[in-house]
């Protein structure tokens, strides 16, 4: 039983690292998230798998339809997991002279 669990865990990890799945998740992010907001709000966060899962549920509740929920979750965990370093935000350029 334990061997089976270890094998299952290894299989899941292998799926998580699959670049094709990650790429699919990246495209899914473009398709499902951009209609409502830009991606900075996503990419500035660093969350656990459970944390990203909860965020995906929240967005689904607000009308987001995922065609591949697993792929977007893997993409988010792989790039913006809580083990990933924080990237400092950009600055806006000077617009103080414009109204």
């Amino acid at each position: 039983m334990r061997t089976l669990l270890v094998l299952l865990a290894l299989t899941t990890a292998a799926v998580a690292a699959d670049p094709a799945v990650i790429e699919k998740g990246r495209q899914e992010e473009q398709r499902t998230c951009l209609p409502c907001h830009s991606l900075r709000i996503i990419h500035s966060n660093r969350l656990s798998r459970a944390g990203w899962n909860k965020e995906l549920d929240k967005m689904a509740g607000w009308g987001t339809k995922y065609s591949d929920r697993e792929a977007i979750l893997e993409y988010l965990v792989a790039n913006f997991g809580d083990d990933k370093p924080v990237t400092p935000p950009d600055m806006t350029t000077d617009g103080s002279a414009k109204k």
Binding site: S38, R40, D82
Partner: protein, 381 residues
């Protein structure tokens, strides 16, 4: 005709080049100097704290928080506030009606409820605000109580529901808040028509709520509806949004809905504006600067430490000791020798509340008010 085609072609090339330049240059927000860009659609912009060294924060430096896209610019002539619900006469109030009421100016600090979220461990979802989701402005407009009198509020009404003109995308919830009548009727609670004497669309004109001492989420922008009610109401932005545990939770644990309550007044807090964190400074006398605020209370004192908290020295405070508005503080200091120094600030308010070393973790990362800290390297002159 030929020339027109050529002109059109040239214009198209110029437009394409302009788009390219804009993309390369990044995001520009009209009316704002360079700010920390957390999000551009909708706009979530944080002020670098070095700009927060004056009692009134200039509009071009003031932080911006939008939950959902801001509405298209509102024509002041067509602007109406509907007063409905528990009133003697449902009314449509114009901007001219609001301008005719007695105008009051209230200086007050506005702080995003999630300011400092980035400092919590474990990390929390949401805008990763650092230290600059805060500003102090002079707000001018009629008292909210005077506005409601125009429609005659039923005395049995215990709450006021407030709706802004911003609305959600797809099924994102509408931005509606609800506030107890006691705070609604407070003489400092305004429906502000001006901020620092101006009318900046990005900050909620023609009229926004000013709820001195309460979290930024209560300060509804572009107000279009006021509805007195008998019971607390409101959608996502009242529940489960913007709630805080009644008692402290172990970091990283979820709260049961019954353990959460609506956030009202803000805690005591101070922030250092000079020297800048991780800066290098030549050994010489300097003035450590910052600002401190305390929700509905005034600031009583601020202490500063230049040795990581072993010794604390009282800072000088700006003279105006007001509820709702921040006080600036400063301390003259000459480092004894070159080296790395950890500078801290700690505020105490008129109710005796003291800024903690470790603020209580909470599942949405609200109300961070830990003792502020900057590190500097002092080099030989």
């Amino acid at each position: 005709m030929q020339a027109n085609r050529r002109q059109l072609f040239a214009a198209l090339i110029a437009a394409a080049a302009a788009r390219k330049i804009k993309a390369a240059d990044g995001i520009t927000i009209p009316g704002k100097r360079p700010l920390i860009l957390h999000n551009d659609r909708p706009e979530d912009l944080e002020t670098p704290v070095k700009y927060l060294n004056t009692w009134v924060t200039p509009l071009d430096a003031f932080f911006v928080r939008q939950h959902i896209p801001r509405p298209a610019a509102i024509d002041p002539a067509k602007y109406r506030v509907t007063i409905s619900g528990m009133v003697s006469k449902e009314s449509q109030i114009t901007l001219a009606d609001l301008q005719k009421l007695p105008q009051h100016t209230v200086p007050a600090t506005l702080e995003c409820t999630g300011n400092g979220r980035a400092f919590y461990t474990p990390k929390l979802p949401g805008i990763q605000w650092g230290r600059g989701g805060v500003g102090n402005a002079e707000w001018t407009g009629p008292r909210l109580s005077d506005v409601l009198k125009l429609a005659g509020v039923n005395t049995a009404a215990k709450f006021l529901e407030i709706d802004g003109a911003d609305s959600g995308v797809m099924q994102t919830p509408d931005f509606v808040r609800c506030m107890p009548m006691e705070k609604v009727m407070h003489p400092a609670t305004l429906l502000a028509l001006k901020m620092n004497g101006e009318t900046p669309d990005i900050h909620g004109v023609p009229a926004r709520l000013v709820v001195p001492g309460w979290d930024g989420t209560s300060w509804v922008k572009w107000v279009i509806r006021l509805t007195p009610t008998a019971k607390e109401s409101g959608g996502f932005f009242m529940n489960p949004g913007y709630r805080y545990p009644k008692y402290a939770l172990p970091p990283g644990t979820p709260a049961r809905p019954a353990e959460l309550e609506v956030i009202e007044g803000m805690p005591v807090k101070s922030t250092l504006t000079f020297p800048e964190d991780q800066s290098k400074i030549t050994l010489a006398p300097m003035v450590i600067r910052g600002f401190a605020w305390a929700g509905e209370n005034a600031i009583e004192r601020v202490e500063v430490s230049t040795d990581g908290g072993a010794k604390w020295l009282p800072a000088q405070l700006s003279t105006q000791k007001l509820p709702f508005a921040w006080r600036l503080f400063n301390l003259n200091w000459t480092p004894k020798e070159p080296g790395y120094y950890t500078i801290l600030s700690r505020a105490t308010d008129t109710a005796g509340r003291v800024q903690p070393i470790v603020p209580a973790w909470n599942p949405s990362g609200y109300l961070w008010n830990g003792i502020d800290k900057v590190g500097i390297t002092v080099e030989k002159a």
